[in-house]
Every structure is written in structure tokens, then in C-alpha cells.
Symmetry: C2
Subunit: 83 residues, 2 copies
């Protein structure tokens, strides 16, 4: 069975401060990119999965994102199955 | 003028080892997600830009990604202007 690929985005929750993003916004402003009002930084994962159906892959990726890739107290995630 | 939003993905180049991704792949395998063959981890940025045309925003985001957000020696980037 051919493999599948998944993309997972993990972002700080809207209600949580994002000090990394703020540091980047300040750095950009000091380097002349004053039009950048806000930066939020998150993580992006590309997962290659061995032979699974699309349904099984979705369940697995959701579980991995919830239990391991994201910290649900301060982060939220979304994912997509690509192929 | 209303603002624009940009998404930027920064990933380790294909030719570069991704130790973070490998560590996650091993962690997932040891936690029972053996079907994950490979993981690559990158960064994802959401930028809010003050009033710019789509064209100007594209130029600015390309420049920021190339000069600041990504390290072109070991990383590659892509971006999209969202609204």
C-alpha cells in the first residue's frame, strides 16, 4: 500500500502570549519592516506514514498531534492528510 | 487601508539532516506510532501586516523570509498572502 503524508500545524493559543513571535516582530521592526503589526510563531510538521487508509491516517495523526506534538494547555493544532 | 496576513513556512532543506524531526520520529515509534516513517519539523509564522497592497506585501514577506526568518544555508521557505 502506498504511504500517506500529513501536515500538522501547532500554534500558541490566541489567549497565550507568544514571546518568540513578539521577539521576531521587534527584530523585524528594528530592521526596517515597520509594517509588521504582529507575528505569531508555531511549528509545522511533515509526517510520512507507512501504508494506511486515509481514514486510519486521520485518526493516527489526530492522536499524535493531541498527545505528543502539541501541548493542549497552551497550543492548538490543525492537520491535513496530503496524499 | 485594511491589513494583510501572510503565512510563512520555513523547513530544513531536503539535503540537511533534521535531528529534531528524527527525535520526534523515534519518540512516536517508541510510543506505539510505528507507522510514522519520517518526520520533518519546520517553523510556521503568521504575520499581520499594516495596510499594504498585495504586491507590496508579497515583496516584503519574501524579503523578510529570505533575510530574517529562514537561514538560506540550511533552510528553505515558502509563503502565501492570505487576505
Amino acid at each position: 500500500m502506498p504511504g500517506m503524508k500529513a501536515h500538522v500545524w501547532v500554534m500558541p493559543k490566541r489567549t497565550v502570549l507568544d514571546p518568540q513571535g513578539q521577539a521576531i516582530q521587534h527584530a523585524l521592526a528594528s530592521l526596517g519592516f515597520a509594517e509588521v503589526k504582529e507575528v505569531r510563531q508555531g511549528k509545522f510538521f511533515v509526517l510520512e506514514l507507512n501504508g494506511a487508509t486515509r481514514d486510519a491516517a486521520e485518526k493516527q495523526v489526530e492522536k499524535m498531534a493531541r498527545e505528543i506534538l502539541a501541548n493542549p494547555v497552551i497550543e492548538e493544532f490543525r492537520y491535513e492528510i496530503v496524499e
